[in-house]
Symmetry: C2
Subunit: 135 residues, 2 copies
């Protein structure tokens, strides 16, 4: 992957916020919506943008799409370096810290879950919890 393309993915604030959350672990779209407080189209489009450029992966799980960063082994040196850099930098800017805090709160409310068919009414805004188990 070309270096410029990585930076093109990073040059939008919404995308930075999405990636910052993904650095903590995989997530489904509805939880991005909740944490960022942004409309569904916006989130979905930016995730699509990142996906077509290989910065995130997406796997369907029932109704939900689980987005994740590419596996460490699958990251180019450039991508790995820039994700590490982003993580460091984001830790110092309030907007990213706030997002992570909100995500943590969501996690606590929802708790981890393995399956997909159980409903829960945890008030997350969707019927499925935030904490997605890594395969």
């Amino acid at each position: 992957m070309q270096l410029v393309q990585i930076y093109q993915c990073l040059c939008d604030e919404t995308r930075l916020r999405l990636l910052n959350l993904l650095l903590r672990g995989p997530l489904c779209v509805c939880h991005f919506q909740t944490v960022l407080s942004e409309p569904q189209v916006k989130i979905s489009k930016h995730l699509g943008y990142l996906r077509t450029r290989g910065l995130v992966t997406a796997t369907r799980r029932g109704n939900w799409m689980i987005y994740d960063l590419p596996a460490a082994a699958a990251r180019s040196p450039e991508l790995a370096a820039n994700l590490a850099c982003l993580q460091d930098c984001a830790a110092e800017q309030s907007i990213f810290r706030r997002d992570l805090a909100r995500l943590t709160k969501l996690d606590l409310a929802c708790g981890p879950v393995a399956g997909v068919s159980a409903k829960n009414d945890d008030g997350c805004g969707c019927d499925q919890p935030a904490k997605i188990l890594k395969k």
Copy 2:
């Protein structure tokens, strides 16, 4: 400085090439032109873009404008981190390596110079050598 703004500066290939060269030391516009083989407007505009956003500094020296990165002490943590990251990444991509090689060749042809009023006919494409002495 906001992190996004840094990435916005980095998301254009021409600007990446300029910054990559600047990581080696200060340079005047005409040498960017020579190394990148791009028209003057293009170089000048991208340098202007970087300048207004604080990613480079510019000082006039006779007819020449010397561009440089902000002094290490003046760099925000985010900028410092990303410049370091860029330097690492650029070292692995051929276009940036080629640029550095061309710059080195220019240096050899021109040699270091302190003053500004002496002409030389070193074939650099302008009357002033490439190697600018740090103040």
